[in-house]
């Protein structure tokens, strides 16, 4: 069960994701290099946060053109699990592997805080460790996390259960006041139609090591692991 963490110039959460798989899950993990066209033998790919290519042009706009992303698309087309976190989410929308896009936060400032989220759909390979409606705390740290998609796309995603996480208050209420960045419908994380590609702005890896005072995020990695184990027997 091999995990891969895709490394771009400017990725700065790659080591954190590596740590989560290596030390928290205790599973084999390797770095994948953005110039590689063959990603080798991996079962799940994490596209980590950071500022790939310095966010030049637009977050994710240059990274999605890298050779490795062609390979990631092929991997996903065969049903492989892909999760993009923060800048990874931005890269996935830029590459059109996920719908919509991430605009600048409505407060026009970078925002780093521990954020309460509601699990909207617990019936996916990424969220099976949670129950729908669970309130969890994952840190956010972004300047462009304001999720936008056309109204009919949003309606379709809502109908298909493609919303995985929404920003909420500690009581689990989702409202405009609990929304840190202006995302439509409080959307913090989404999944594609085929249910194997996830993008989310909050950082589950930063909430996976209990010594740092947060541990809710571990569930994302454990969910993925259980799915892979079931698939591979």
């Amino acid at each position: 069960m091999n995990w891969g963490v895709l490394l771009f110039p400017g990725s700065n959460c790659a080591e954190d994701c590596f740590h989560a798989v290596d030390k928290i899950l205790g599973k084999p993990v390797k770095y994948l290099w953005h110039k590689d066209t063959d990603l080798g033998d991996v079962d799940a790919i994490i596209i980590p946060g950071g500022f790939s290519y310095g966010d030049h042009l637009r977050p994710g706009a240059i990274a999605h053109l890298s050779p490795a992303m062609t390979a990631v698309k092929e991997f996903a087309a065969k049903g492989g699990l892909v999760i993009g976190i923060c800048n990874g989410f931005q890269i996935l929308t830029e590459s059109r592997m996920l719908p919509g896009s991430l605009l600048q936060n409505r407060g026009l400032k970078f925002l780093c805080q521990d954020q309460t989220l509601q699990v909207d759909n617990a019936d996916t390979p990424f969220t099976s460790e949670y129950a729908s409606g669970d309130v969890v705390v994952f840190p956010i740290a972004h300047n462009e996390g304001n999720y936008y998609a056309a109204p009919d796309t949003i309606a379709e995603m809502e109908a298909n259960g493609q919303i995985l996480f929404r920003y909420c208050n500690p009581e689990g209420e989702v409202s405009d006041g609990t929304n840190p960045n202006g995302s439509l419908n409080g959307i913090a994380g989404i999944i594609n139609r085929t249910g194997n590609v996830v993008g989310m702005m909050p950082h589950p890896e930063r909430s996976a090591d209990s010594v740092l005072g947060l541990s809710d995020g571990k569930g994302v990695f454990v969910s993925m692991l259980k799915h892979l184990e079931a698939k591979h027997g």
Partner: protein, 744 residues
């Protein structure tokens, strides 16, 4: 043209920033008159910023060695041992003048520069902090713009480069109105075996420049930082560097990959005075010479003169001294990261600093002479204001009738209020080591794979040093160490940022000298040697005069087990509240006098360093024994503010009673030193009191934590404070928003 200006133009060395006697000295060293290239070399290397001309003679006071000190001053950063063959390296640096003129870039490049100092030691940068000082914004937009841009610049750079910004301070006084202070600190981690030095050994070895291209940005920044900020200095705008955090991130990755191999004998960051100072310092340490051909330096601008190439402060560049024959291997690693590594010269055995252009010598001076900047011991005269301020008596101010209102105003005051507005713009969690976040007494980082961590703080108090330079400076060191101790960390060492006015003024030199003596005495008493630092002098403007003398102390501590990590918030209702230390009737120099009575006066509270050390050892001991549930340093705003902060953070109330025969405002808001506020359960409380008595320390159970969210303080049966935690919280949480007048 005024007569003065005409004269300046006449003497070319004066225009370069050198005095007549300095010019005379350098011609003696050279045995001839310098050409323009050589003059530029001396002007930069003999500036205060590079040569520490005014501060070097004072550094002899500092204790710089100790059992945990691996590297003291003299390298890019000092290094301390944190057990298990692991070390941390840290340093702070000022970027005041650039930030005054171009706050976004000035602050951003300050962060970038100090990160490279840490990288040059061979370490991975794991944390950034910053200490910021501004004027009060009031109704005036310029200061608000400065604040906003500085914070944005720090955030933009730190967030992108992937180093968490975990702490620091933002303080306000109109003494900084024309000349804000921006000091950035960085901490790096490595194994002891990975330490690199800034040394150019091995004749024939290559000097390689890596990272960014060289342009005219930051021209003469070192000498710019070594003179007063003047309104008409618009031409100095060229002395502002432009930062590229993405390039810095690549540089970090590539350098650390190169360091893993045995290719490099020396590393130096290119900071002030760029290629020049980095190469001179490495050559001087090895007792060697160097030869650099400016034509080989990759440039982003055309027709740069040799001296421009030599002193450019273009950012995100490093100098590597590479073993002969390993150049291609180094270049291959940099190429992987889409960077270049270019040979620009080599180490020689003749002790000369030689600048070539296309192989032709354009400047040649002895290396030692560039490092031998003349030093100045100037006249020190006690500042005249001290006569008046030292004579302050408490009776001069009337005690306000509504003390609840005073508490609320203090909690919302710029120096005390929550700085969440600031630190939520900084990624403080990246790298996954942040155990205690910004907003506490000290930031705590874990060391991965170990049950241990480090405490990091950055503290200052310009008002204290203005009112008593020596004791003020002692107090800052003591407070830094208290902040470490209440967080469960054993203080290890400090780096100091000396921010002062023009030292050629006798009263400023007095402040500088006394502050250094104060820091030195406190560091000896608390066993926290000085392992490096930075001096930023000439912080004054014609309109607003000199800044407050502002030494900034960056301190690190060792948390021996993560079980010892301690925070300020009350944890449980019915826990006992314990006050350690003696409360004296001291109002002098307090935040209370400043905020409520608009008075900067009085003497700094008394400080007994022997008692301080004893009290700190005791508090750390009872925290390590697991007796304490919360611990908080009593600082700005005194006991009432500390109590309110513990209540706000814990979302609990407190009911305390004291029995002290003194003015209520001194009791509540006075800043008597060497005090701590703790909470503990009943059985631990007995032990805490017992252990304090055994040490001869004052410790009193003053009340209890309550579920009801009210803060009630009695003294001698008189109710002084009765206020809801909610009211306190609102004032504390919204203070900064109000200052910035934003609705976010």
């Amino acid at each position: 043209m005024t007569e003065k200006k005409a004269e300046m133009e006449e003497k070319i060395w004066r225009k370069a920033g050198l005095t007549d006697s300095e010019y005379e000295l350098l011609t003696k060293h050279m045995g001839r008159e310098p050409n323009t290239v050589e003059l530029a070399l001396y002007a930069q290397m003999w500036s205060e910023h590079c040569g520490y001309t005014h501060t070097r003679p004072l550094f002899k006071h500092f204790l710089t060695t100790g059992p945990r000190i691996v590297q003291g001053p003299g390298e890019n950063a000092g290094i301390v041992d944190i057990d298990d063959d692991e070390v941390i390296t840290f340093k702070l640096e000022s970027h005041n003048h650039p930030s005054a003129i171009a706050p976004f870039q000035g602050a951003a490049t300050g962060v970038g520069g100090i990160i490279r100092d840490i990288l040059a030691m061979g370490a991975y940068p794991i944390a950034s902090l910053n200490s910021l000082h501004f004027g009060h914004p009031g109704e005036e937009g310029h200061t608000r713009w400065l604040i906003s841009e500085v914070i944005h610049g720090i955030g933009e750079y730190g967030n992108c480069v992937g180093v968490p910004t975990v702490g620091g301070e933002v303080r306000f006084s109109n003494a900084y109105k024309g000349n804000p202070l921006v000091n950035a600190m960085c901490v790096g981690f490595m194994k002891k075996s990975e330490i690199k030095k800034a040394i150019a050994t091995g004749v024939g070895n290559s000097l390689m420049i890596v990272g960014n291209l060289t342009g005219r940005d930051g021209m003469g920044g070192a000498s710019f930082a070594s003179k007063d900020l003047e309104e008409e200095n618009d031409e100095d705008r060229g002395a502002i560097q432009v930062g590229d955090p993405f390039m810095e991130k690549l540089l970090i990755e590539a350098c650390l990959e190169v360091f893993e191999e045995d290719y490099v004998v020396g590393v130096q960051d290119m900071g002030a005075a760029g290629i020049l100072s980095s190469s001179v310092e490495t050559a001087s340490k090895a007792g060697n010479g160097v030869e650099i051909d400016v034509a080989l330096v990759p440039k982003r601008e055309e027709a740069m003169r040799p001296e421009e190439v030599m002193i450019s402060e273009s950012q995100e560049r490093m100098l590597l001294i590479v073993k002969k024959g390993m150049e291609d291997k180094v270049n291959k690693i940099f190429h992987k990261w889409d960077l270049h590594a270019v040979v620009i010269g080599h180490v020689t055995d003749d002790g000369m600093y030689r600048v070539l252009e296309d192989g032709k010598t354009v400047g040649e001076v002895p290396v030692w002479s560039l490092m031998d900047a003349p030093t100045y011991i100037l006249d020190a005269v006690e500042p005249p204001h001290l006569k008046e301020t030292m004579a302050f008596k408490n009776e001069q101010v009337a005690q306000p009738s509504n003390l609840n209102e005073v508490l609320v105003r203090l909690l919302g005051a710029p120096d005390i209020c929550s700085k969440e507005w600031v630190y939520r713009q900084y990624d403080h969690r990246v790298q996954m080591n942040t155990v205690v976040k910004p907003g506490s007494d000290a930031a705590i980082l874990r060391i991965k794979g170990r049950d241990k961590g480090i405490g990091i703080t950055m503290d200052s108090n310009g008002r204290y040093c203005y009112l008593n330079p020596k004791r003020g400076a002692q107090s800052i060191v003591a407070e830094s160490a208290r902040n470490q101790v209440v967080s469960g960390a054993e203080p290890i060492a400090i780096t100091d940022g000396l921010n002062f006015g023009n030292p050629e003024k006798p009263e400023v030199y007095y402040q500088l000298e006394q502050s250094i003596i104060g820091i030195s005495e406190a560091c000896r008493a608390l066993d926290t040697p000085v392992i490096g630092g930075n001096a930023s002098l000439y912080n004054q403007t014609p309109e607003f005069g000199s800044i407050y003398p502002t030494p900034i102390i960056g301190m690190t501590g060792l948390v021996k087990s993560l079980d010892h990590v301690m925070t300020m918030e009350f944890k449980n209702a019915d826990d006992f509240v314990i006050l350690i230390g003696e409360t004296k009737e001291e109002l002098g120099a307090s935040e209370y006098l400043d905020v409520i009575h608009n008075l900067v006066s009085g003497d700094v509270p008394e400080l007994d360093l022997t008692l301080e050390r004893k009290a700190q050892d005791y508090v750390l001991d009872i925290i390590r024994k697991g007796l304490v549930r919360s611990a908080h340093d009593l600082g700005d705003g005194g006991m009432a503010v500390a109590l309110a902060e513990s209540c706000i953070a814990g979302e609990l109330g407190a009911n305390v009673s004291l029995d002290l025969d003194m003015r209520a405002d001194a009791l509540l808001f006075g800043e008597s030193q060497t005090r701590f506020m703790l909470s503990a359960d009943e059985s631990s409380t007995d032990k805490i009191i017992e252990l304090a008595a055994a040490q001869g320390l004052e410790a009193a159970v003053i009340g209890k934590v309550t579920k009801e969210q009210n803060i009630i303080i009695h003294n001698m049966d008189e109710k002084l404070i009765d206020i809801s935690v909610g009211d306190c919280q609102t004032a504390f949480a919204t203070g900064f928003d109000k200052l910035m007048k934003t609705d976010s």
